[in-house]
């Protein structure tokens, strides 16, 4: 009854948070990765520290599909609280592994799946004495059982443990003992391997496992950022943790031990934004990582930075809103907020990474563009990209890269001028030159959020006000030419159907395209990588009869933005929405298209 699913399955592990299952899950995922199988890991966790249900989903897919799949082939249920719902989630023909120290045969009753009881607690209690160790080793023991059931290479597991505990050989020993307990029990009691299993298919050379926040924090280090200000907020916290980690690694003076960076944990997001503006104003590259609620609080400063033209970089790792929403769940719900953040006429460039690799690259681009355009720059990531484990091509760095500091005048440059005016556009691109404090009195200017003219003086003159804000529109046109271009993926056949998406919806769309093509529906796909939209986006919409806009929010915010910014026919843009807080699966895209095109959905 079970179909063979080799290197194409979803393994889901349900545990209680705070029990140390993360390292066990990471061990499983890395083992499959090293067997050359494309894997992604998604952590579905509560807004809580200890005692509530948490799940980790590993999708193995030999074709390399990265999005969340709705099926569960193998469930490891370690939390009795959620047995019932975990059981319900397993797809027909699937497997349900649970801790049979306390047998539940009568409750765990489904004819169409196989229930596998492994007395994990009993095994560990018999072989380990310390109470905390018993709990931790229970997790490692299910890794062992899965190694037997899924045919995961135990040599790889051993190597991984040896690497992880290189300085603590005793831990390698105890972990291996736990693995063997689970492994041997499974071998003795079940037919191993299961039809759902892993098989070595290479070594994934050239790829790494990384989350987007780690990549973005690393990108800030490589961009030469020196000042980071923040107020801790899920799911952006690990971005600053990453910056801090790599700064400790690379940015300490070898002689003095002093830090060549300054991380300030601010009293709130307002202060974090103020610190970022102040530091950029005096010439440091400074940034803040935050999430939607933080952007709401920073909005006054964001408008200030727009009007006073202060380079600044804001990472928004989006989570479910509105208000506190669901802090540990993902959404793409802040694109409208960020595009126009703050009162008055304001517009801000957004960079839209679709995976951790782009988080790294766009972090660097963000600082360059912020300084080139002298304006707030947003990198719009989300919880799915930021906190989940993605398999990505190794990050690369070009040692010839030099940061673009934009129109930044040195003290000598200022001396060459007859007079320096901060807001005078002499090049016609809408960007005026700036100077740094501390260098030359002749280059001094006064930053203000109140009305100012092109010479930098206070004004209440209608003409002078208008002249300046109109010049900012010229700058906006320049921004359009500088931001990363959208990427077009053409269908194999000529088609009148288009799909537009961005960020973490990319994986679901790519998988859906193949599924749809298999049933005869072909669509061209444009992945947006920045706002303002380039002309290419206009043309794409113009050249297709129907354009599906796939995004993860209720109100079709990207669609609205497209209508506002591309002069397109709104009726052409069909929303395909996913907003329950879980990462978008490809099925949502398939269903969305099929529903509109009125064809039977393909599975």
């Amino acid at each position: 009854m079970s179909e063979n699913r080799v290197n194409d399955f979803v393994l889901k592990i349900g545990t209680v948070n705070g029990t140390g299952s993360a390292s066990a899950n990471s061990l499983l995922m890395k083992a499959m990765f090293r067997m050359g199988i494309p894997v992604t890991g998604k952590n579905l966790f509560p807004s809580n520290i200890q005692g509530l249900p948490t799940w980790y989903e590993i999708r193995a897919n030999h074709q390399g599909y990265m999005s969340r799949s709705l099926r569960v082939d193998v469930m490891v249920a370690m939390n009795a609280q959620t047995y019932q719902r975990d059981l319900d989630e397993v797809c027909p023909g699937g497997f349900f592994l649970y801790d049979s120290t306390w047998p539940r045969e009568r409750e765990l009753n489904r004819d169409d799946i196989t229930v596998l009881g492994v007395p994990l607690a009993k095994l560990c209690n018999e072989h380990f004495s310390d109470a905390r160790v018993r709990i931790l080793m229970k997790n490692i023991a299910y890794v062992g059982a899965l190694a037997a059931l899924l045919d995961i290479d135990t040599n790889v597991l051993r190597t991984l443990l040896e690497e992880a505990f290189a300085n603590k050989p005793k831990l390698v020993e105890s972990n291996l003992k736990a693995i063997n307990l689970g492994f041997n029990y499974a071998k003795e009691n079940f037919v191993c391997p299961l039809p759902v299993r892993a098989e070595t298919m290479g070594d994934n050379k050239g790829f790494v496992l990384m989350d987007g926040n780690a990549a973005a924090g690393l990108g800030c280090v490589y961009a030469g950022a020196t000042v980071g200000a923040w107020y801790p907020i899920t799911p952006s916290t690990s971005l600053m943790d990453s910056f801090n980690f790599y700064c400790e690694m690379f940015r300490k003076d070898s002689d003095s031990g002093q830090k060549n960076y300054c991380i300030i944990q601010a009293e709130d997001e307002l202060a974090a934004a103020g610190i970022v503006l102040g530091a950029n104003w005096t010439g440091a590259r400074a940034f803040t990582p935050t999430s939607g609620p933080g952007i709401s609080l920073m909005s006054e400063f964001i408008g200030f930075a727009y009007y006073a033209e202060i380079p600044s970089v804001f990472f928004n790792v989006q989570r479910v809103g509105p208000s506190t929403g669901m802090p540990t769940r993902t959404q793409q719900c802040d694109i409208m907020l960020c595009a126009y953040a703050s009162h008055g006429d304001t517009m801000h460039p957004l960079l839209l990474p679709a995976n951790p690799k782009e988080c790294f690259e766009m972090a660097v681009t963000a600082f360059d563009l912020a300084e080139r355009l002298q304006t707030p720059l947003f990198v719009l990531s989300d919880l799915d990209i930021g906190m989940n484990d993605w398999m990505i091509p190794e990050l690369e760095w070009d040692d010839k890269y030099q940061p673009d500091r934009g129109k930044l005048l040195s003290s000598d440059d200022v001396d060459q001028l007859e007079k320096f005016y901060r807001y005078l556009d002499t090049d016609g691109d809408g960007i005026a030159a700036r100077t740094l404090p501390g260098e030359n009195a002749k280059g001094a200017y006064f930053v203000r959020g109140s009305g100012h003219n092109k010479h930098g003086a206070y004004t209440e003159s209608s003409e002078e006000y208008k002249e300046l804000v109109d010049r900012l529109l010229t700058k906006w046109a320049t921004a359009r030419t500088l931001v990363p271009k959208a990427i077009l993926k053409r269908a194999q056949q000529e088609t009148t159907i288009g799909i537009i998406a961005y960020g973490s919806s990319d994986g679901a769309v790519l998988e859906a395209l193949d599924q749809l093509a298999a049933s005869g529906i072909h669509a061209d796909y444009m992945r947006l990588r920045a706002f303002p939209f380039s002309r290419r986006v206009n043309e794409f919409v113009k050249n297709h009869e129907t354009v599906f806009v796939v995004e993860q929010n209720r109100d079709a915010q990207l669609r609205s933005l497209l209508i506002l910014e591309t002069n397109t026919d709104a009726a052409k843009l069909i929303p395909v929405l996913h907003y329950n807080g879980m990462p978008i699966p490809s099925q949502c895209v398939v269903d969305g298209l099929c529903k509109h095109l009125k064809v039977e959905a393909v599975a």
């Binding site: 003076d253 060549n260 202060a271 005096t282």
Partner: protein, 351 residues
Amino acid sequence: MTYIAKPKIDLPGHRTNEIGLYTRDYEGVLSTLCAGCGHDSITAAIVQAFWEMSVPPEKVVKLSGIGCSSKTPAYFISGAHGFNSVHGRMPSVATGAMAGNRDLVCIGVSGDGDSLSIGFGQFGHAVRRNVNMLYIIENNGVYGLTKGQFSASADKGSKSKRGNINQWKNIDSVSTAISMGGSFAARSFSGDREQLVTLIKAGVKHPGCAVLDVVSPCVTFNNHPGSTKSYSYTRDHYHPALQTDFVPPATEIRTAYAEGESTVVELHDGTKLLLKKADSGYDATNRSGVLRYLEQQRARGEVVTGLLFINSELPDMHKIYDTSNKPMKDFEFEQLNPGSEALAKLQNRMR
């Protein structure tokens, strides 16, 4: 009237300072505040103090929030970069500015509304981080730009121009700064130029966050009988707790002073502050003693002035973080970027 450049006039007899600048080089554009505003006196004191200290204008950054007080950075040191930020948020911008370039001389100008209401949190955290700056609060107890509402520093029982009596206890920036672990807290009066100039100098030289609250009467909305922030009330209740002499580095203390009557505080650059006790037993380095004294005098309705508390040994933000002595903005990109080899190596652990 929007913006009026101040004519630079050479007056006979004007002297230059050690770096060859005249006082006019420390001025800014013409003030648009009301005639007689205490804030203009503070501006004049800033000009005098910075000229006397021979601070190069380009080394100065002047920041402010929103309100009458916050307009004033435009009126002094035109050769300094200025930053008129959003309401109540000057401290965070100053913190960032000093994070980016610690070599700057930072002066933040705020008001009682800006620092004790909307920006109370940021005020507290700049003090707590001990950001190296002079933090002036131009305190008039009233919202001027919105025409006369009480501010958080208005004393309970003080009367507004419209005749309302303030029912709320006031927030005292000096005792607040001290209790939050501040390293320097002083109060002065816009009408006492000599004391004000000395305290500005001491605050600039102090290696940390120097809070200087200056009672600065609002001639338009808070200078009537019944107000406790008027010129006449302040003069009648003016009570210098101690006198401070500012002695620049490498200068001898010339004034004679009796043992036990004065304390000398030496700052890191060699500047000495000579604190002469006007009230017997007042010790500006004794935190709990100072707080007790301020509470006593507050009950009596006195405006206690002077360098009321100092601890120049408290570490500033950079010392606590152990950041490089070199300003962040001066690092070469090559010193900040780990390079391709390091990137390849660090990814080995991600497999």
